[in-house]
Amino acid sequence: MIDRSLWSDTLVEIESNLRREGWRLATIAVSDSEIPELRYVFYGSKDQGWQQLIVRSREMARSFPSLTATDLSADWLEREIEESSAIEFAQHPHRGDAGARNRPQPGRALREEGAFVMPVGPVYSAESESALFLLETTGEDVQRAAPRLLYKYRGIEKLAQGRSVEDAMLLVERTNGTSAFGHSWAYCMAAEHICGIEVPVRARRLRTMLAELERIRRHVAVLRETVESTGMRVAAAQLFELEEWFLRACGEMTGHRYLFGLNCVGGLQRNISDAAVYAATGEMLAIANNALETMKLLEETSSFIDRIERVGILQEKRALESGAVGPFARASNAVHDLRIEQPYGAYPDLGVRIASQHAGDCYARLRVLCAEITSSLEIVAELASELPPGAVRVACGPRAGEAIGWVEAPAGASVVLLRLDEEGRCASLRFTPPSFRNWPCFRLVAENFALADFAIILASCGLSVAENDR
């Protein structure tokens, strides 16, 4: 990673130039120093790699210029830093809500007579994460839905400080249990970069295979939630059953249904036999194809399509501007994928078919999920058939240093900026999961919709509140 130091008065211009050259903002972190200092981490194409801007303000001021006016993807990153440190961002537009703690009321969009705000949450519905939504409506259609999150803030980044490198990993793994493997891989990758080691080739291929299996399962779960939200309960039950078979296959193969307790710094802490891999992946391929078959049949049901077509549209321009990631963005033709842009694991040796759509509605998001399942199945089949023998773990550290780890998690780009001290303890952790990049876009998707469509739009986005809040 290239480091560049600069003063904050040149930041906005330099950042604009970087974006013009194709760099994307991955995260902003506060340095652990007496003098207020920020790190802006960018990634470019495969050849460009990663770059970090280390920024200070003149006269050690706490105020930095806000990037949000020109780069929307900085919006919540800056808001989060403002809330958790003494740093201020001058002229931050404070557009859209970020969280639950001491917020001013959002500006009312509707000034019509009879307009009111209907709060939904934080405890609502039979099966939902704790989150508050303020729906502005005149009684028929909802004009705007402002999410107010951070009810589930657990302080993961703060808790990680001072823990051993292995114990801090457990926090990242349990940020979002349904994407545990992907996030823990990003963390382990950062620690392995610091220690300057490469995991054995068997571990690299197994990690890639397991990450793709997790992607498939999570996508089936999102499909099931969306189908359930449209009221197609029989089809949703079929998908639910398939997801349960998949979880059982994961549990049988690895010892844990959600793939906890596999990733460790240095590789995998459990080796899986070729026979177990072969048997389990054969089963999982059949399950996933069954799910795709159900989705294909559902596409012939007009009452299903009616509820998801032209509903919850995220326009391409807005998806690109706001730095959205993952299948949520790819359904609006904002095509970014770390497996292609910054290949890791076994991806350099594999062909990854990226799925994308143009329409940006709920239907497009479902089509992207189905296409990604197909693509993941191809990768799993290729990896499972050719697992090199050998160990799955090497010794790592302790070594001090700072590095980045990154993974294309099921919901999109997940980036970990990790610093370790000489005893191998976590000195600081900055974790930017994909849902934190995508939740700011929810208010763009949930605009002018019928109240009955709220659950469908929410389910189709495949966002995790736990990931956002951390």
């Binding site: 249990g177 089809a235 549990g251 802490q269």
Partner: protein, 240 residues
């Protein structure tokens, strides 16, 4: 063929639990167990447990199940000298009483309504609870129903370590539930704080927040373990 026909023509795979034990692989991750005579390498496992769930006492070793976060470091296949692990899922336990004593009464035996509150869970526990409604477990067949209304709920299931911000809504939900009611802490986070432990942002679990009747350890506890707890409240503990 329509998806409807596909469903009708398919086989029924619903578990027969609790009438018969459920032994399908992958239905439970198991939990570590104590040993009566531990060897030195097993004793060393107490130091690697991230939540101090493993306790060394003279000859023996004990496991505090409510603290296990399934990091798998002491498990067969990972540790060179692992602890033995139980392979069932019936590990729900009552707080300060016997599990048989949490039953609500005859009227609730086959009609129990459940309200789930997310107090900061990572998504794994909520997924396992949701899966109780999938065709393979189908909790409805046992008279267990999830309700969105606390007014109609008999049991409160809480997941997550209880974040500062969810305390208020959690209390309101509990207060809105009429008597008789029971509270179940599902998962390591709600039971003991899990990997988060007590901290500035969370309460370290439900035990200091609400009167808890049943705890279900695990990270996450599989659907069968949660079902075990619900059946206990319904007065059908481990019947065969």
């Amino acid at each position: 063929m329509s998806w409807f026909l596909r469903g009708i023509l398919g086989r029924i795979h619903t578990s027969r639990y609790p009438k018969e034990p459920e032994r399908d692989p992958g239905t439970t991750p198991g939990l570590p167990r104590g040993v009566e005579h531990a060897d030195p390498q097993q004793r060393a496992l107490a130091a690697v447990c991230p939540t101090q769930a493993i306790v060394v006492l003279d000859e023996a070793m004990d496991v505090r199940e409510e603290r296990c976060v399934h990091c798998m470091r002491c498990a067969p296949g990972v540790a060179s000298h692992p602890l033995p692990w139980r392979r069932d899922a019936e590990w729900a336990s009552a707080v300060e009483r016997l599990i048989e004593d949490v039953a609500l009464g005859r009227n609730f035996r086959e009609s129990l309504h459940v309200r789930v509150v997310d107090a900061g869970d990572c998504g794994a526990c909520s997924s396992e609870i949701a899966h109780l409604s999938d065709p393979l477990y189908n909790m409805d067949r046992l008279g267990l129903f999830v309700t969105p209304s606390p007014r109609k709920a008999d049991v409160l299931l809480v997941i997550g370590p209880v974040t500062e911000q969810t305390r208020g809504p959690l209390f309101e939900t509990y207060e809105a539930m009429p008597q008789p009611k029971r509270v179940i802490a599902v998962g390591a986070c709600a039971t003991s704080g899990g990997v988060f432990g007590p901290g500035s942002a969370t309460a370290g679990g439900l035990l200091d927040v609400l009167p808890v009747d049943v705890v279900v350890p695990g990270c996450p506890p599989p659907p069968l373990a949660i079902l075990d707890a619900l059946l206990a409240v319904a007065g059908r503990t481990r019947e065969r």
